[in-house]
């Protein structure tokens, strides 16, 4: 087995793991982490295609490598947006709970 296909298999396992994590976890943070694993697996598959397509004196096909760079930056933006949404949601929920506590409603949820 060549090095590239070894990483290819690793990519498949990562995709399986990431997909499982995204679907099985309910906590948003864990889902975001798993989404990143899934993404890493997909990017690695591009990397394997690039490696196998090495030619013209290059260590790999530059097209999929460039696609991965674009993809990594987009995935970072997604992670940042998701975590900022989560931060705001947590703060609002905490404020809601505090307000509920102050009201001292016996039937409060």
């Amino acid at each position: 087995m060549t090095g590239a296909s070894l990483f290819g298999l690793a990519a498949c396992v990562l995709i399986g793991l990431g997909l499982y994590g995204v679907l099985a976890h309910a906590a948003p943070l864990r889902r975001v982490l798993s989404f990143n694993l899934l993404g890493a697996g997909v990017f690695l598959l591009f990397g394997v295609a690039a490696r196998r397509g090495a030619a013209a004196g290059l260590p790999g096909d530059p097209v999929p490598q460039a696609l991965v760079i674009t993809g990594i930056v987009v995935a970072f933006a997604a992670t940042a947006l998701a975590l900022m949404l989560l931060r705001r949601l947590t703060a609002l929920r905490a404020a809601e709970r505090a307000a509920d506590g102050l009201r001292d409603d016996p039937k409060g949820r």
Partner: protein, 309 residues
């Protein structure tokens, strides 16, 4: 032959560790443990990219990983208490994911031989473009539209984050991440010049060797964050006109040069003969500033009330 064996065992160790850390990150009970596992995963992943001969990607992965780490560690405080799926459901999901992974493995192992590749086509015009790094040529010439729009994606994410503020202070500075301490202070005084030099180097060699705007921008953003964490620089006000201008500069310059291509040589995002390299360097420099700023501002988050004390 011996070197081949060595490389193969190195790859095997790397892959096994990579997968073990990923498994740990998915299955860990505590959110913080999962986050730390993921950060380790990112480092190993950068090594995997080196082994795949993709040094440009490895640099991007390592740099972005370093920026993701503080974001994730900060967020591990907001790990929800939501219960994961019930055991039978989890079993079913695991079976489904294993099926998908297995199918993919079959496809990977049966990949066509020789592998299709655009490498030859990508290398041929490098001389005319006066570039040495084919990845840079893909990002800024052949698929420049992708790169242009990708900066717009980042900008939209930033606007989305800004929109999460309270109405009355959305144009104010974000909450300061400062946690000053003497050693951090020292680090923040010594490291940024080094980081800036390395960033300039990465940007400059990017035309001919691995490196480029993303890697440089990430490094600059990290240095900025360090300065703010040490309390040496306060976060900027988000309504500030000059800040906004710097954020817009990169995509605007890119777009302007792209539109100028309509007139000469006659096609959007095409460069006139002999002008490719200087124009690409101008675009890369402008993008570096804007992307560095956007990444930093994304980490800082939406505008917040100034501390009253």
């Amino acid at each position: 032959m011996r070197a081949g064996m060595m490389n193969a065992s190195l790859d095997a160790v790397l892959v096994v560790t990579l997968l073990a850390v990923a498994l740990f990150s998915v299955l860990a009970r505590q959110a913080r443990a999962a986050v730390i596992g993921f950060i380790a995963f990112g480092l190993l992943l950068a090594l995997a990219w080196v082994r795949l001969g993709a040094v440009d990607v490895a640099l991007t992965e390592a740099a972005i990983g370093a920026l993701t780490a503080p974001l994730l560690l900060g967020a591990s405080a907001f790990a929800g208490t939501e219960k994961p799926a019930s055991p039978p459901l989890r079993l079913a999901l695991a079976a489904l994911c294993a099926l998908i992974a297995g199918t993919l493995a079959v496809i990977v192992l049966a990949a066509p031989e020789p592998a299709p590749s655009l490498a030859m086509q990508a290398v041929a015009p490098l001389g005319a473009l006066d570039l040495g790094n084919a990845v840079t040529a893909v990002l800024l010439a052949y698929r420049a539209l992708d790169t242009l729009l990708e900066t717009v994606v980042v900008l939209l994410a930033l606007i989305g984050i800004w929109s999460l503020a309270h109405d009355e202070n959305w144009r104010d500075a974000p909450a300061s991440p400062a946690a000053p301490s003497p050693p951090l202070d020292l680090l923040a005084r010594v490291l940024p010049p080094v980081g800036l030099v390395v960033a300039m180097h990465l940007l400059w060699v990017g035309a001919d060797a691995p490196g480029g705007k993303f890697q440089a921008a990430t490094l600059i953003a990290a240095m900025g964050l360090l300065l703010m964490m040490a309390g040496l620089t306060p976060p900027p006000a988000l309504g500030d006109a000059r800040l906004r201008a710097l954020v817009v500069a990169g995509p605007a310059v890119f777009l302007a040069i792209g539109l100028a291509g309509f007139l000469f040589p006659g096609s959007f995002l095409a460069y006139p003969d002999g002008w490719a390299k200087p124009l690409i360097i101008v675009i890369e420099m402008a993008l570096t500033v804007s992307i560095a700023l956007m990444l930093l501002l994304m980490l800082l988050g939406p505008g917040a009330r100034k501390p009253s004390a």
